[in-house]
Symmetry: D3
Subunit: 340 residues, 6 copies
């Protein structure tokens, strides 16, 4: 089996237990997370070989991070060591009308200050058939955008499928800057993943008749967005996650896949949320698994939506579900009956 290579940042995730807030507690749960690391773990959990590539400082907290990746069978042998620090972020879990909050402390991280010379992409892509990155990675700095570009070019040259989750982060860069940099990278992308905001914020492509905060979803609008993205950058496959935020405790969750001019819509799930951070990444990971395994469009989409639906019931970013659990939900058993 060939592997998927995921490139980006892995951060320390710190959250107070349960619904307590940072100012209320002296105890934090520590885990590790990041857009592409989450995808690598999803792939590995589902059964696709995955490698995670980043730059990490050579210290004991980075060691704890790589241990987590290794525990999930993610190949860490192409991680580069050096630099000052790992990025980190704090999560306060929201409930009902109170939104979850995420506070980043990721500036100056080893990967954000990495250099093109740190990575030998031809070596990294040996035995790979897939390359995945998100819009967060080039947003870390021009240097990292350069590294992404080189990785994309090398991947293309080596015949490797490239996927990108737009993942717009307004605290990392402006819409203008994102549009410019991402536009350059999209040329190499075969599979684009986005949520309802990303296309508008990065490329100004807007779903019609859609009120995001109100949670109103228009199928036709999303089809238009995917089509436009597909046409503009000549992208074969565009996947969009459709989140209906009823409250921080309850969401509707579905997805759309646009493939060679055809739009597929998934079943929609009403989810009682345990932890939704990492939900989008789990969609991406499952979709890559499904597409690289050869699922047809509708089935691939349903698989990705089911996997990411389950992620919302899992604590922390990594999607700790099994292939069997995803398949079972896909087949329609969401009744939550005890499995003895």
């Amino acid at each position: 089996m060939k592997k998927a290579v995921c490139f980006g940042e892995i951060m320390i995730r710190l959250n107070p237990p349960g619904y307590t807030r940072l100012v209320q507690t002296g105890l934090l749960e520590m885990s590790f997370a990041g857009g592409e690391a989450n995808v690598a773990v999803s792939l590995s959990n589902l059964g696709k070989k995955a490698s995670f590539v980043t730059k990490l400082p050579d210290n004991m907290i980075a060691k704890a991070a790589t241990r987590q990746l290794k525990a999930h069978d993610v190949d860490v042998s192409d991680i580069v060591y050096g630099g000052d620090r790992m990025g980190l972020y704090y999560v306060e879990k929201g409930a009902s009308q109170r939104a979850s909050t995420v506070l980043y402390d990721r500036k100056y991280s080893a990967i954000a200050t990495a250099d093109k010379s740190d990575f030998n992409w031809e070596h990294i892509f040996k035995d790979a058939d897939w390359f995945h990155f998100t819009g967060i990675t080039p947003a870390l700095g021009d240097n990292v955008a350069e590294i992404c570009l080189e990785a994309c070019k090398t991947a293309k040259k080596m015949g490797i499928t490239v996927s990108c989750d737009l993942n717009y982060r307004k605290k990392l860069w402006s819409s203008d800057k994102a549009g410019e940099v991402m536009g350059r990278l999209m040329e190499y992308v075969d599979v684009a993943i986005a949520n309802e905001e990303d296309c508008e914020k990065v490329f100004g492509i807007k779903a019609k008749d859609t009120d995001i905060t109100g949670g109103k979803l228009s199928s036709e609008g999303y089809r238009q967005v995917a089509e436009e993205l597909s046409l503009r950058f000549n992208i074969e496959t565009v996947a969009i996650t459709l989140r209906g935020s009823i409250s921080a405790s309850e969401n509707d969750w579905a997805g759309m896949l646009y493939h060679r001019g055809e739009a597929y819509f998934s079943k929609s799930y009403r989810i009682h949320i345990v932890d939704r951070v990492g939900g989008g990444d789990s969609f991406g990971g499952a979709l890559i698994y499904a597409l690289s395994t050869g699922y047809e469009s509708q089935k691939a989409l349903e698989f990705a939506v089911a996997a990411s639906c389950l992620k919302h019931t899992i604590e922390h970013d990594f999607n700790e579900v099994t292939l069997d659990e995803v398949l079972s939900l896909m087949k329609g058993d969401g009744s939550g009956r005890v499995q003895r």
Copy 2:
């Protein structure tokens, strides 16, 4: 007051805290549970004297288990000591579309390897007016089925009411084997308890027009099932719990009581679930309390459904509610207003 004797296995229950999964944690909550032990605790909490009979190894973990029973005023003086080990099981609490999972490690337990000579039923049933067991106990092995049979015969001979919760466990035995063994035992049973699956799996008695995973409930179908069970084994009272699984987080919960040809249906509760493991046992315990206290059919059923509704809001298997709390819910106060 005469006591109820409950015979079966008590196990170590281990679960990761909250919604975390086994692979995510280094911390487990330990409690003790088992179909008949849960019933004994329910009875004692509600005010009926109860004795729990089993075989346990003579070690410090079994000591921790009996301490819990004693703390609940359950008589443990007829527990027999010997054998190698206590059974145990792991629970991962599900949420939303992710089902709870239960992993058993109960083979070779002291009770599963017990011998008929370990128990002197005439002595055990002194001062008793009720004997309760579940379908799990004879499923532990032919030796245990033999013990059950002897207990049933002795109970009958001594004029003691016998109740049995079918509780089919597919990992312990096949439907065929269950049907054969349980069929023999049902001859002695006065009160049979079952859920929507048990009758079908054990005796092939099926509710019409019922789609279990879809959570659809047909009153008439259940009446037919109860009637058939009642007629086939000449059982005076048959109780069936009706669970509508909307998701692992939300269930509808109700019950039916069939008594001397008459079917009674309870109020239905929409439950936001805290922990549903042990829910069925809490129904059984409360029903035995109600019947042995002399409640009429409808009231006994409503009492049992209210008690077990509350169980779903209680962590771990034992139903830690008071008689007052059950009566209060039965009278209609399910609004959850703070009790100051």
Copy 3:
């Protein structure tokens, strides 16, 4: 900025973690709470200077309590030291049909045994423009009612606005006694706050067509109650919180403000509850903030309801939300989207 003075009891709050019950645990969460202390913290969190006045024993647990107040910028310099003990209470968090329970152990506390000579109100009210107390405080004993009366008189004399949350506690006094004592105090009150039960229990003023446990709310009924309260005691502003208890896990929450003959009704929120103890106090605190900041009636009410809606998503009594979060919800964003 002038400060608000809040007078009452601060207690030790002990609760088992999550949904466990007292009999199930050897671990308690300790925090500090009390009707007026909660209001003082709300005010301070929102941006209004607040002072909390009480009597505390001079020991290490009281020191832990004042540390919490100081951490929230609440002025504790007028707290008097002496007496035997702090009051305390246990909370068991309910879920679904199981109500939360509160067990008080507050008798003989330092403030309940305080003397009029302990407090110099002219000194305490220097730099104050608001005085707040609740019906719990005079219920602690005739001595404390006397202290309240003197505080009210002094406040009136010094031109300070007086607010009172009726907060009827049936375990502290009878309706008759409450009516008599509170009636005397209401003469000095400018802003009265109450929930659906208080007016009836304390003054026999009853909302028509309202079934509390059933959660049915009648707008017209509430307007009548407020009007009668306003007229009887010549109170300019009356605020009533409207709680629809669907279950211990889910409530509807809204409010009404009656000001100079006009009744204003707020938006209603369907809340998935994290911890509702202190919910009413957070409404009071936010309302005082809004009124003393000069918000108009409708806006002040919406602000208070939004702030207290959010409180239901916060663990423990203190309302740990920010002004920005309240304003954001007020503007309509209750979708719970992650704030990155």
Copy 4:
């Protein structure tokens, strides 16, 4: 087997985890403890039937307390219900040069406000051969001293052995008051237990050449103290615990038994302390077990010292050790080798 009756107060014990202090934590460990309750649990753990008699409020926290007693097989059937509250205390565990601190909040407890008519001693002493109380109980108030006196008289009349641990608490009463009240009670005492301070503080009997804070112990001095106590009140057996406080982390621990004119000294243990609260009570419990089982003086003393040495390695007040563990240490195995 006849039972030992222990009469006194059981309190809620709250302590921050590990070595944290009250002002540092929002988490408390809750257990239950009290001089005589600790003795009852020790007796039961070692194999002597024990009953604990007290007055408790009828609420859920008292229910948690009695559950703990029942879990330890302590008979709670003579506990009387009524009154306002349970006493409670906070413990901060010390280390090295920092002493452990104990803060009591026990005033107005149900037992401290109990009445002579609450207890029927002839009934309580049925099937008993031993009565134990400590100097803390009469210190709770004149009413409780009266109850103690009546219990002593009844015990004497019924031929029951009476033991008393002097346990002087300076926060409960003065030396003068203690001397007067305890003097009256000692007339009925057969076995007196004390530590190095008690005899001096209560009866002015002082060990010569002993510097308590310095931890210097003089065998001859202790013999004199015991002899004087024995002669003054005609007490057959006097036991004194000898604690050498090196620091809050390390103590020397030994004991002396004076029986009919003969003084016996035990082996001394150098203890690395886990939790020393309840250490004296565990000595008393083990001594009563040993004496009532018929051990000779030297052996009884060594047993009591070994049992209480082990208590110092146990968290919370109750001495959770087994008879086998005590006997094993007594025989000399204190090397702490792993028991597999």
Copy 5:
């Protein structure tokens, strides 16, 4: 680099937090451990490639176990799946005069019921230069002893060094049986590891002038034991750990290495113990690392003693220390100064 293959059982280790006992807690720490698994982790942590071979059931708790091994870079690709259950054990940490206790529940585990046909040793030993097992593994049953024998023979044939830690467990087999089985296996062993009891219990070889429980160590005695073991089975290298148990909190720790007729004694460490379970295994792991890396005898011994000294300061069985930390202690820095 060639790898070391470790063969044996990995179990679930459950222990109450800190110094609490099983009967006191509802919370358990879960980790994974076993004589040979501990050695494999030590090797990997120090820098030697290691593979762990066993049989595990195919369930989620075994998955958690292999995740831990993978996190430590231990090769798990030769683990065989099947059988009923994983063995488990409970540890209560002792302190001072109270010994740690270990309660095993390991009967009927997958590895204990494994068959010779489960393992293909020629395949397993590809790329290996070392084979390690302990006396626990053949003690699991005649079938497992057979597997060990075959592994030993294959290793010998393939020129692989074989090491064995005698690790006598009296609960698994008698001295007679152990002597017989182990005697047969020792023929293939190049490096034997033992503690002060093993040689005597398994082969009747006894150190002269040594009182184990008293902690007295005689250098000459140990040399004699090693020499006799070496001669009897023609073993080139014999290592003995020397533990002086002062108490459960404090131990002296040293080692002896006997190599080709020469005895080497290490420095002795006075250790303040955090967790000593797994201490012997960490000695074995470090010794194998040192010998396979080519350290000379004295240095290899000092390295192994230093590494295992540090293990006593680490919670759980796995020795979570780095090569640098071991080398630093070996060089003499045991002062514990903060490393910033």
Copy 6:
């Protein structure tokens, strides 16, 4: 009372619970700490008004930090807001031969990137009589060294006593750089505090006959060091802490004060360590308290050593002891007897 102004960095301190290591845990304890913040808290706890001055980012984690300071009555009104992040560090608590480790992630913190224009020292020093900083602060960067210099000059001009704890951190700067920068600052210092390494590493002043890692202390050597430091920079008072590291679990602790040519040596304490991070700061804080309160040299020294001895028994950096506890230890009661 005039206040002491402390200037420096406050960081987030993250440590795994107990003796676990970072790679072993998913749970971290969060507190806040920093050389000068620790001193400010010590001063406030002992009774001296203290203000802490720094630059912090305007986010929720900094809010949690200032809450802690306010809870301790430390004036935070001169803290400046801006910049990217707070520094943070990880602590692994050592035991026995395993040293505690500290891993810093403090680069690019708000204070490290602060500008001279951020602080108005004339305003800050209003109502102050003391200024304290440590060698860590100027080591953060030339910009911060500049700020320190300006603060020192202003303090001098305003007649404020200046104290500095050398606190050499080799990871922040070289000895050469430290010597140069600190040399310039020492001109303004009235009270210098150092440990056994600082003088040598910063100024090349070395205690004769002292082996630090071996824990050997030479009184005469320390006197010489202090004298030389005093003479070189014309410093009136030099205090040196003397730590004898027996192991990570046990230290000897004492101090020396050199004042106007006279050397004073304190009592030495053998400490069983709970947490030694912050020990030096607690010495500094207590010394400043003692000197500014007018204690004579010997008494001031004994006070500072007693306070910092107690700190070693307190979890986290802040010295949570009271004035009474310090005075009591100073008077000689280090026996650790329970304070009831």
